[in-house]
């Protein structure tokens, strides 16, 4: 095993002090002749500076930490792409952690990010990590909370989210416009985003004279629970005397499962039942699925900028959703 060259080795090889090598590397005042000799030594010894040591002195590393709940969601993928774009433009790297939707791992990974003294932290975690991110913000590490807003955020603690009420309303108006009136909802749980989307949907539906009964909303935590939830929705609609003519899914994570549950029962989309879901994805076009799209790449860009630019106060950004109409709600095709 070959030992790595240190700045001391380079200094010895070039016949100067470590201070001078450091100055050459970081652009201080040095003679051109000295600089040349140092660069030659760097090349000869294949010197690669130790970013950890640099980080120790600077008080923080140059990497941006990102904690994601579920890497498989296309929303997060585009978000990361946006962050990565900003990171690359600022000589940063992205340190990514996936929590697999487990709270204990969220807490552990945010702590690790803190230990790593990340330049900034972008998280999609729940409230369990708020204590630490708050403290990190106070310690001078900008933190960006994605997909929910934060009460009484201290300076340096930001949030980026979607206007979820608006997302629900867009769905309601679109479904009503397509002549649907008996709607079932598959939601994914207790997160604020889910509740707001359902609330927006319900309010807009009510405004259109189409009340959404409480029992027309089913919660499915995992993909396995989706099939049963869809069944229940179908049965309840029939019992109510208003067989379902539309299914709304309030989370992109369960789109595949809901779609599979419907087709497995031989239900035609949109023939029998209309289908709208959250988050655009590559195959939505091929499948003709109408979705509410989030500007996830833009959100990632903004998150990265908040980390790099370090605005003084807490910043709260809310992005507008857009409806991408395709064919899954029985949309009339343009002639």
């Amino acid at each position: 095993m070959v030992k790595r060259a240190t700045i001391g080795d380079v200094a010895a090889d070039a016949g100067v002090s470590t201070a001078t090598v450091s100055r050459v590397l970081n652009g201080g005042a040095v003679t051109e002749a000295t600089a040349t000799r140092v660069w030659e030594a760097v090349a000869r010894l294949e010197y690669t500076p130790n970013a950890l040591t640099r980080g120790v002195f600077a008080g923080r590393s140059s990497t941006i930490g990102v904690v994601i709940r579920d890497l498989s969601s296309p929303f997060y993928l585009d978000l990361i792409r946006g962050i990565d774009e900003v990171a690359a433009a600022n000589d940063s790297l992205v340190m990514l952690a996936n929590t697999f939707r487990r709270v204990d791992r969220e807490v552990a990974q945010v702590r690790t990010m803190d230990e790593q003294r990340v330049r900034g932290l972008i998280v999609t975690t729940g409230e369990a990590t708020d204590g630490r991110t708050r403290r990190m913000a106070e310690n001078g590490t900008p933190c960006v909370i994605i997909a929910r807003s934060v009460l009484d955020a201290p300076p340096g603690m930001h949030s980026i989210s979607l206007d979820n009420v608006e997302a629900g309303q867009l769905m309601a108006v679109h479904l009503a416009g397509c002549g649907r009136s008996s709607i079932g909802v598959v939601s994914s749980g207790r997160r604020t985003s889910q509740i707001e989307r359902t609330a927006g949907l319900r309010r807009a539906l009510a405004d259109l004279g189409l009340p959404l009964p409480e029992d027309a909303v089913m919660v499915a935590e995992t993909e396995d629970e989706v099939s049963g939830a869809v069944d229940t929705l179908l049965v309840r609609g029939r019992d109510r005397g208003e067989p379902l003519d539309a299914i709304v899914c309030t989370t992109g994570r369960l789109t595949v499962a809901v779609h599979a549950a419907l087709t497995a029962r031989g239900i035609a989309i949109p023939g029998d039942i209309a289908f709208v879901t959250m988050d655009d994805f590559p195959w939505a076009t091929a499948l003709g699925i109408t979705v509410i799209a989030q500007p996830s790449y833009q959100m990632g860009l903004k998150a990265g900028e908040l980390v790099v630019d370090r605005p003084s106060g807490p910043v709260e950004l809310v992005f507008a959703p857009t409806l991408v109409a395709r064919t899954s709600c029985g949309e009339r095709q343009k002639a």
Copy 2:
């Protein structure tokens, strides 16, 4: 801005030396009474140890570096999940970099990973980074090259790849079994994996008495080039007097584009043309697309283990592909 507590602050607060605090934190010999006082000080000051400083002393950090060419591919997503699994079990984090398929960024990011003194590096880059990864391996940083093999790898430099020839052969046998004889191939370029898959396909086809002409293979570097490539393939087949009855895509990255090109032309799958592609993905079931699946999660697991376990010699692992038959090749359904 509140300054972070250091080990010195904890020591002062507990009335001991920094050495004792370090011993409490890392499990050295200390009285229970001292340990209690130290832990109380840690809690009181909300002390978070600096992983950078630890890394300086240890000579390396505890994070695993991963450089990915294209985060949007489901193959890489599962690979990362596998790596992350091993990382989590070993108190590591994954530091991820996306190169957006640009060689200059690959080189820069592998260098940054080296500067960060990652515990190990897992890359899906091209040959341009081999010089550095070789050197890193010699310096004691295990490197795992994904999706291609490496000639004369030094100790600590490993490779994990798919049996690409076998993948091509599986496609050939399956298509022939479905009664297809005139096959067009959309490939994505000069990478070894692509060439091997096409070679395997051609060889197995020839064995079955179905030669694959040179001009039945089109290269599409980007998604934009796919539509034109498919057109050319269609025209050439017709000119040859053997209109295409199957299209093979040798990269998962272009699956969406090839599928879209086919459906945009009103070509029915599998009615008019059969379709097989690489890499399984969530929507493949819904769409009935037959694929050659890679055990990407397992590959990630192995990659992570090579980093953590540091076997002495160079290890070369080749995984077997499996064909997941659905309906896109006109498969006979089981009764």
